[in-house]
Symmetry: C2
């Protein structure tokens, strides 16, 4: 199954001897499930802030990674994690202070009355648990997701992740609807049309014998071409789902913790979610994720089913997560994501005006998408998108490509990416857009 | 849904003021999914080796936790994790050395030719992925599991975990079979009877339109009453499953990394697994888990579906996992688990002879089970098992209870539990067995 911006093993001869040797060992022991990025994979040995360093000591500007949101090798995270490892690391069947302190602080960042939290280790686990909760409390199985969504890799999360490709089965209890297309519709029309598609999806589920348990949407719709958080664009669809008795699950694994310039993406979209799933940036790379939600939903699920995740909410992961909140707040990284993101959006839009083949530029905070199309035909141009990504990689600036047609450049740096980092990114993008497409 | 040895919130008045206050906050923000252990929960603030310390500074002998296998607050783990946090923590789409080094070392501990590894974050994720792999490569959906198994909490893992109780749905594509009962059958008869039940399960699945994709068994059958790793007891059943085209998945989340005195439980049972799932002790509490398996299975799944786990195989989790292997080897903890486990088995058997109501004592390495039954009727006595667990907790020795009838005492200390720790455990058990059952 092809993946955008994945390394083709036939290109191994372009690597130096040491990397070729490491790649051969890796292929032998990790095998086919694993994919690398870029025509020439990056051999990462060190990270610091927005920089990664390779084995030769060369630095790369990281304009792609959304996990190390407070920076690679963040000293606060290291210090808090190290200190906690010296003291205690255990599960939540003993009373421990840190998980309660953090849960209070985190739930206080949501507009859900008396919100409760369950901690897990990955976004996939969080999505999977939210689905279990929604299905248990509604007594239904049906789920509505967007047509190119990615929500995770457990069997249940993969079943609502059509972006995993044609060999990933989507069962009959799942109905897919096209996401709003904000490149081609204004937000109000897009909102109404999306709600109409959700209505049709409920009808389709019922025709197959399933009532809807949940509507789940990634609040930036990243795999659906990065639609971003346009005002109130999901409100009518959420209302339709709610009226049909389905829960609304806001997937904030991509959007959350300041990526868009706000804590979460969903409030701007006019949604009042029943459950919210969190992941990637939560612990700056120490595995932690969670589900936040309505206490009555937690109560029914918890009473009937209970839930235990051995590593979920352990004091070490919680220490990392606490350090992330501190850094986001103390360094005002939400405001920075907003202003630096706006700057990048303006400058990328200007570059699109001076180069052919960039048909749309959009973004929410520090998450930008540039659509690469054939200037003559307007068709998606995955080959040129890949060429741009790899040209920038050779200039040691890291971005990636994604989207339904693999033609959308994805720029999504750590939130410590500052205004002073912008020129290096923009120069590399400019040069890549100016370069002829190698045949 | 009741859980053995779970705290009853009506007992909160027995707690001191500070713990009552923490409990109230916890209940408000974490809610019903979370359960605590013991009539008086332990407020853990510090750990060291086999000891946990509460808020008053009192020490507890930990004879229960199977995650901190090389000891609470292990200095090697802390040092390696801290050092790595200073350098790099990223995902596997860049070339990195540590994940390859560790994968080679780990797969070298298995008797599977050219074994490959995929790293995830939790045992649940590992089980879920093994099921996805088995279903994809066989093109089938059916799974056979034991009648009281626990394999995890994702939707797919919960679907093969009947020990989660009556509100946890078991779908029609899953067939449950009673585990071997080694308290009542000799290993050879148990093995033959189990294989016959697996044959019946295949027939039952086919009657519902499902061919078997996998047979999955926890190699110590812990939730099925801790059957342990009796010689060749699973061999005939594995052969039956294989002949029907199903993969064999060895769940080593409980048994693995030295718990039974060997690296893994399955070889002694005469099984050659297609896939092995690993979890809990792998990183001594830093989230890491994995699937080890046949390269041809990985090849088909990887080629068609691929797999990516953002935090899976990150350098920090790998650093913890490497430190665990070093400690297990350098401190010869497998041999110790075997000799200390044998000692505990002898001494617990002796205690059972001097006290009424312990109808069976069995164990594999440092994993022991004591069945508590009514001496008059022979019936399972969950109330007395709970009383013993709580009596020991009041003497600051931590074990728990489980089993189909919640009457099996579970003794499962960190592997650094030494011969010199045994008297404190045995004295507390002796006192608890001698105590009258409070009415």
């Amino acid at each position: 199954m092809h993946m955008a911006n994945s390394f083709d093993p036939r290109g191994a001869s372009a690597l130096d001897v040491a990397d070729r040797e490491l790649l051969a060992r890796r292929t032998r022991v990790l095998g086919a499930p694993y994919r690398l990025f870029y025509e020439r994979p990056v051999h990462a040995v060190r990270g610091n802030g927005v920089l990664l360093y390779d084995a030769a000591g060369l630095d790369y500007l990281d304009a792609y990674n959304n996990v190390p949101v407070v920076g690679h090798s963040n000293p606060q995270v290291r210090e808090r994690v190290s200190a906690q490892l010296d003291v205690l690391n255990t599960h939540t069947r003993y009373l421990t202070d840190a998980v309660v302190d953090y849960a209070e602080r985190l739930t206080g960042l949501f507009d859900i009355a008396d919100a409760q939290a369950v901690f897990v280790c990955t976004g996939s686990e969080a999505v999977d648990l939210a689905l279990r909760m929604a299905r248990h409390v509604t007594g239904r199985r049906g789920v509505i997701a967007t047509a190119h969504a990615y929500h995770g890799t457990t069997e249940a999360a993969a079943a609502i992740s059509p972006s995993l490709g044609p060999n990933n089965p989507i069962p009959g209890e799942v109905e897919l609807v096209a996401a709003p297309d904000l490149a081609r519709e204004d937000p109000a029309s897009a909102a109404a049309a999306f709600a109409a598609r959700v209505t049709e999806a409920i009808t389709a589920l019922r025709a197959r014998g399933h009532e809807p348990a949940a509507l789940i949407v990634d609040s930036v719709m990243s795999s659906d071409g990065l639609q971003g958080t346009a005002a109130r664009v999901l409100e009518p669809a959420a209302a339709v789902a709610g009226a049909a008795g389905a829960l609304y699950i806001a997937d904030e694994v991509q959007a959350g913790f300041g990526r868009t310039g706000a804590w979460w993406g969903y409030p701007h979209q006019g949604v009042r979610p029943d459950l919210v799933v969190l992941g990637k940036p939560m612990g700056n790379g120490i595995p932690i994720a969670g589900v936040i939600g309505r206490p009555d939903v937690f109560e029914v699920f918890g009473r009937d089913v209970r839930y235990f995740n051995t590593f979920g909410g352990n004091p070490v992961s919680i220490a990392a997560a606490g350090a992330v909140l501190d850094e986001l707040e103390n360094r005002r990284l939400l405001a920075s994501a907003s202003t630096v993101g706006d700057l990048l959006l303006r400058e990328c839009t200007a570059l699109a005006g001076t180069h052919g083949g960039v048909s749309a530029v959009r973004g929410s905070g520090l998450f930008l998408a540039l659509e690469i199309t054939d200037p003559a035909t307007g068709a998606a141009d995955a080959a040129r998108a890949a060429a741009i990504v790899n040209h920038m990689r050779e200039n040691r600036v890291l971005i990636s490509a994604s989207g339904v047609s693999a033609n959308v450049l994805k720029v999504r740096p750590p939130l410590v990416f500052a205004e002073s980092d912008a020129p290096r990114l923009l120069d590399a993008l400019d040069a890549a857009l100016a370069a002829p497409l190698a045949g």
